[in-house]
């Protein structure tokens, strides 16, 4: 097998990978630019197996998007709407509680809740959401509010990010999802999302959360106007931050879905690019415990294959996914845990149902 990787011109990187040495930016660029997807995947699979064995994780979760009203209106987003739009919505506390109550008979361990940057909901609204969910489902872990929303909430509260996080945690916040990172490059943000939190500020919020004892995830939205160098700078910034705080749980590459966005002239990402982003992330982010293949975005078939290209997590049952579907995703909005278990087993891995913090709930063998 080694000889195939050497023939693909990646022998030097393979030696580093086998020795557990950290890859530099130049290595990363070589990996992004290679056409030898099998050789790339083979190396990512070595690291994946070293770090996570045969385990392939998933979670029984529920998504709630409390509002799509947003003042940022990023060009790559089909979800966010101006408050005046006919498609704008916001849920009140009773509606959110009802969504949670409606699924109390299911073994949900995590509620994943994000929304836009709302122009006038008060800080108290967000605290009530957290308290309300906990009231209906006290044991559930709430993973909510991206770093972008957290910064906005700190502004509303008139407090520092650290103080705001403490208040949110007291109200029920368990951890922070990885959204809003997009691509950190100032060039990309100026073109696509100039009103959004900067990359540096995003990282600062994440690191602050880690210091306050809250775990977070990290994402990268790829497949729009970013260059390979910009992808790598993004990964490098995440790796450096993780060296400092060790608070990131998973990295989740997100494939850009152009439909209904201002960048709808662009094509969808290809299967090769999806796998490349998984594999390069696994090889480059040596300090991230988990790499997630988000089936909602790349489809269950590709997410299954991705388990051999560096990914060790398929996310979850999801239910009611809205954000990607607004941008034309043709995947289902939910997937049964039975289907996830079968996909994982057929990929030759062990399905491990987890909670948000990767504690094992059940091994399905």
């Amino acid at each position: 097998m080694k000889s195939f990787v050497q023939q693909a011109g990646l022998g030097d990187i393979l030696e580093k990978v086998e020795a557990g040495e950290r890859l530099n930016l130049q290595d990363g660029l070589a990996l992004y630019n290679t056409k030898e997807i099998l050789a790339l995947g083979y190396m990512a699979n070595l690291v994946r197996n070293r770090m996570n064995g045969d385990n392939a994780y998933f979670i029984y979760n529920q998504h709630i998007n409390y509002s799509n009203i947003c003042t940022n209106l990023c060009k790559f987003c089909a979800f966010g709407k101006d408050k005046s739009s006919d498609l704008a919505y916001e849920m009140d506390l009773a509606q959110v509680k009802e969504k949670v109550r409606a699924r109390l008979d299911e073994p949900i361990t995590e509620i994943h809740m994000v929304g836009g940057i709302h122009p006038d909901l008060p800080f108290e609204y967000y605290l009530e959401l957290l308290r309300g969910i906990k009231e209906v489902r006290p044991d559930v872990h709430i993973q909510a509010f991206t770093c972008v929303e957290i910064a906005h909430l700190a502004g509303l509260a008139g407090k520092s990010v650290a103080e705001t996080l403490d208040i949110l945690r007291d109200a029920g916040l368990g951890s922070i999802p990885g959204g809003g990172a997009e691509v950190f490059s100032p060039r990309i943000r100026a073109i696509t999302c100039e009103k959004k939190l900067s990359g540096e500020q995003w990282l600062e919020v994440a690191k602050t959360a880690h210091r306050q004892g809250l775990h977070t995830n990290a994402t990268m939205l790829y497949g729009h106007i970013e260059t390979m160098e910009e992808r790598l700078e993004h990964l490098d910034a995440l790796r450096t931050a993780q060296d400092e705080t060790k608070g990131f749980l998973a990295f989740i590459p997100l494939s850009f879905h152009p439909q209904n966005t201002e960048l709808s002239n662009l094509s969808r990402t290809t299967g090769i690019d999806d796998l490349k982003n998984i594999a390069v992330a696994r090889l480059f982010l040596d300090n991230f415990p988990h790499i997630k293949a988000y089936w909602v975005m790349i489809g269950p078939k590709m997410a299954q294959v991705a388990l051999s290209f560096g990914a060790d997590d398929m996310d979850g049952t999801v239910k009611e996914e809205v954000i990607t579907h607004m941008a034309g995703a043709d995947t289902d909005q939910a997937i049964g845990s039975k289907t996830l278990v079968r996909l994982i087993k057929e990929a030759g891995r062990v399905p491990v149902e987890r909670d948000t913090l990767y504690n094992v709930i059940k091994v399905h063998d």
Binding site: M1, N45, G53, T270, I272, G299, K301, M302
Partner: protein, 368 residues
């Protein structure tokens, strides 16, 4: 032993893998036992590297080909009632259609206007149209100059039994009327146990082989397919591949092999037995195994119509060197609940993105 070392020991045993690799890379042929060992124990990368190595050896120029054509199904009325089919209408239901020659002509003209070179012509086993009807259809179609890739072996067998002629005589008459080549459909799994259970009224495995053998002898090129992932066993998949490889040794008449997984929605079979849809992983493994076993087949096609563009693109690294057809029209897979569409432009984009040169071809794989 740490987890990493333990994982290294998984997959096919090193010595077995090395001997297979050496053989395959030198252009050699694997045995049935080696196929079964690979199927059982090889990991995705062992299969992928072997299949990809063969693809590179056979197609060193780095082309990935495709054909611009349209699937025309002249009728959906069918007496075969295969349990895995969601397309057919039984004659007694009187809900089926039969295309008129005018409709055929319109479809052909539209295809030609889009740069199409051939029509994949297949239909159900109509209860009472005589052989003369199909001869007339061919003569009519050929006035347009289009390549007719038509009448899979079950149709040819059906024409033979209706007309009382031999398979060879039927083929000679169809060729005289203008038939250019034969599609590999209706092969399903070339095992009589599987055929008895799923398609008892369809031609037998022997008859399927006989049609293709006679066709090759009469100078027609044909393709071969396999529909897997229903009730067949692994040895039955192997039996299928073995029969194809043996026939190809005798005639060399197959241009390509095209495997795809059974699509269960709306079929009688999926209501009778619980069948789990083949996963992306299952498809890629079978594709690679086919590429490795069928050493005498020049070309292997990816099935974007069942797998979607992402897995189809990845197929190019698991043995496939051809993206199949643009399928300006497709009805059979769509009836089973799968509706991927790809334009020629999109196929070319996927091929380029994967690092290959997209080339439009004809049925016989001549590049245009």
């Amino acid at each position: 032993m740490d987890v990493g070392e333990k994982m290294q020991m998984k997959g096919l045993q090193k010595e077995v893998m090395e001997s297979i690799t050496e053989k395959v890379m030198a252009g050699g042929r694997i045995s049935d036992e080696e196929f079964l060992a690979l199927e059982r124990d090889a990991d995705l990368y062992q299969l992928g590297f072997l299949a990809d190595g063969i693809r590179r050896r056979l197609h060193p120029e780095g082309n990935v080909t495709y054909v611009v054509d349209r699937n025309v199904n002249y009728t959906d009325i069918c007496i075969s009632a295969c349990k895995f089919c969601a397309f057919f209408k039984a004659p007694e239901h009187q809900t089926g259609y039969l295309l008129t020659f005018d409709e055929l002509e319109l479809k052909i003209r539209e295809t030609q206007d889009l740069g199409g070179t051939q029509i994949l012509l297949q239909g159900g086993l109509h209860p009472d149209k005589p052989l003369e009807y199909y001869e007339e259809m061919l003569r009519f179609m050929k006035t347009t100059g289009i390549h007719v890739h038509g009448f899979s072996p079950p149709e040819v067998c059906h024409f033979a039994s209706l007309s009382g002629l031999s398979i060879r005589e039927v083929l000679q008459r169809l060729i005289a009327a203008g038939l250019d080549s034969i599609p590999g459909g209706g092969a399903e799994i070339l095992s009589d146990r599987v055929r008895e259970a799923t398609a008892p009224r369809k031609c037998s495995a022997d008859q399927w082989i006989e049609v293709m053998e006679e066709a090759h002898k009469l100078g027609l090129r044909t393709t071969a397919t396999m529909m897997f992932g229903h009730i067949e066993t692994v040895p039955e998949r192997l039996e299928h591949l073995r029969r194809l490889r043996e026939l190809q040794d005798r005639t060399g008449g197959f241009t390509a092999f095209i495997p795809w997984p059974f699509q269960p929605d709306n079929t009688a079979l999926s209501q009778q037995v619980e069948i789990e849809k083949t996963t992306g992983m299952g498809y890629l493994r079978m594709l690679a195994l086919s590429r490795i076993y069928l050493d005498n087949f020049e070309n292997v096609q990816a099935s974007w119509v069942t797998q979607g563009p992402k897995i189809a693109q990845l197929s190019l690294f698991f043995g496939a060197n051809d993206f199949g057809s643009t399928m300006l029209e497709e009805n059979v897979v769509a009836a089973a609940g799968v509706s991927f569409r790809l334009s020629e432009q999109e196929i070319r984009r996927l091929v380029v993105d994967a690092g290959f040169e997209p080339r439009q071809r004809l049925m016989d794989y001549t590049v245009i």
